[in-house]
């Protein structure tokens, strides 16, 4: 499905922060508040909280990278990452960190939660790539949410989720199998 986010380019925020010359990456951190978020409570946690994510600086200042404050003409609900969440449409959805509490400009590649949990299966870049499988399942085809219900057809996944024209140049010369 195509989600009508309401937001503004992350590039504007970064420009205001006036990054220094050695800033190469942008690191994000989410809220950790077990008292309000039952999913963060208890003995067995699937991930190390707080959730963290990161982008390369050129990915972060790309016009397609936005900070969302709403969707469908409404304020962002809590489950969608209120009050501020990241939307990077050419990457897998878990890169869209929610409820951002801190944005840092850093020199080294920052840790990202799913890569910490399983570096074999989740990389830093996580660009949508039908050619590179997840170790346990294929990523060549997809079903679209809201289309066809139980009988939804599979479609071939598009490189960079269909944004190849806009973003492929960011990865020119990179081995996307190695830097997945």
């Amino acid at each position: 499905m195509v989600i009508p986010w309401i937001g503004f380019p992350l590039a504007g925020v970064i420009k205001r922060a006036q990054p220094q010359g050695n800033a190469k990456f942008v690191a994000f951190e989410t809220l950790k508040r077990p008292s309000q978020m039952p999913g963060q409570r208890g003995l067995f946690q699937p991930l190390d909280w707080p959730y963290v994510e990161g982008l390369r600086l050129d990915e972060a200042v790309h016009p397609l990278t936005i900070l969302a404050v709403g969707l469908y003409d409404q304020d962002l609900p809590n489950q969608n990452g209120a009050p501020l969440r990241l939307v990077v449409p050419w990457k897998y959805g878990f890169k869209g960190i929610k409820s951002i509490v801190r944005i840092s400009l850093v020199a080294e590649m920052p840790p990202t939660s799913w890569n910490k949990q399983n570096p074999n299966e989740y990389g830093f870049y996580s660009n949508v790539n039908p050619e590179v499988d997840h170790p346990r399942w294929s990523q060549k085809t997809e079903r679209k949410i809201g289309e066809g219900g139980l009988f939804a057809q599979r479609h071939p996944t598009l490189p960079f989720n269909g944004y190849a024209d806009q973003v492929a140049n960011l990865y020119a010369g990179m081995d996307l199998r190695k830097f997945f």
Partner: protein
């Protein structure tokens, strides 16, 4: 010389006097989740990814019925409740749910794209394991009838049907490997299966020990 207790609990069990349900009831009750979930799918009440929900739930019920069949003997041995007459119905229900789970995968998930399915079975380890589990269940389902028991003979039939232990292990492995990170649900089912199988292992080891003792004692008596 002391005689080892074989482990069955002999005593007055008030629940033994309850009227016994005909086995058809197990089949009828067993099919209710399937009807319910297919109906939810038909009226689009399965959320954003209905096919995945249905596929997951059918697989889960297959595993649950498998666990019910594995619980029959411990229940009889530990508590004296004998539900053996329902075990075939429970086992076949497990097989039917596994068949529905597989059919959902082949038809709804993969759209009968046999190239993709073949690649999945060979390359995706959790699908290899799932498919193997189903293949293990096939002969068990096929030989579930009284006729089959007579044809095979009780001993051979029993040995064949011990493969249900392998099916249970493969099923929980399939579940564990199909999820991201370590959610509690598949771990719980794995623990339940481990306990049910571990109980049998412990019992057979203990019986082996006590039989060994009896053998040694009787030998020394005869000398």
């Amino acid at each position: 010389m002391s005689i080892q207790n074989t482990g069955t609990w002999v005593g007055v069990a008030p629940w033994r006097d309850l009227p016994q349900l005909p086995t058809i009831v197990v089949y009828l009750v067993g099919v209710v989740p399937a009807i319910w979930w297919f109906w939810l799918g038909a009226v689009d009440r399965l959320g954003a990814d209905p096919m995945r929900e249905l596929e997951h739930t059918l697989g889960l019920w297959a595993l649950r019925f498998l666990i019910f069949t594995l619980a029959i003997t411990p229940l009889r041995q530990l508590v004296g409740v004998n539900l053996l007459r329902y075990r075939r119905a429970l086992g076949l229900s497990a097989f039917y749910y596994a068949l529905m789970h597989l059919t959902t995968y082949l038809v709804l998930d993969q759209g009968l794209d046999f190239d993709a399915i073949g690649a999945d079975i060979l390359k995706r380890r959790y699908i290899t394991i799932g498919m193997t589990c189903f293949i293990v269940l096939l002969p068990l389902a096929a030989t579930s009838s009284n006729l089959a028991i007579r044809r095979l003979g009780g001993k051979a039939w029993q040995r064949l049907h011990r493969f249900v232990y392998l099916a249970a292990i493969l099923a929980v492995l399939h579940f564990l490997m199909s999820v991201k990170s370590w959610p509690i649900e598949p771990i719980t089912y794995a623990l339940i299966v481990a306990i049910l199988l571990g109980y049998r292992l412990a019992r057979s080891l203990m019986r082996g020990q006590s039989q060994g003792k009896l053998k040694r004692m009787s030998l020394s008596d005869s000398r």
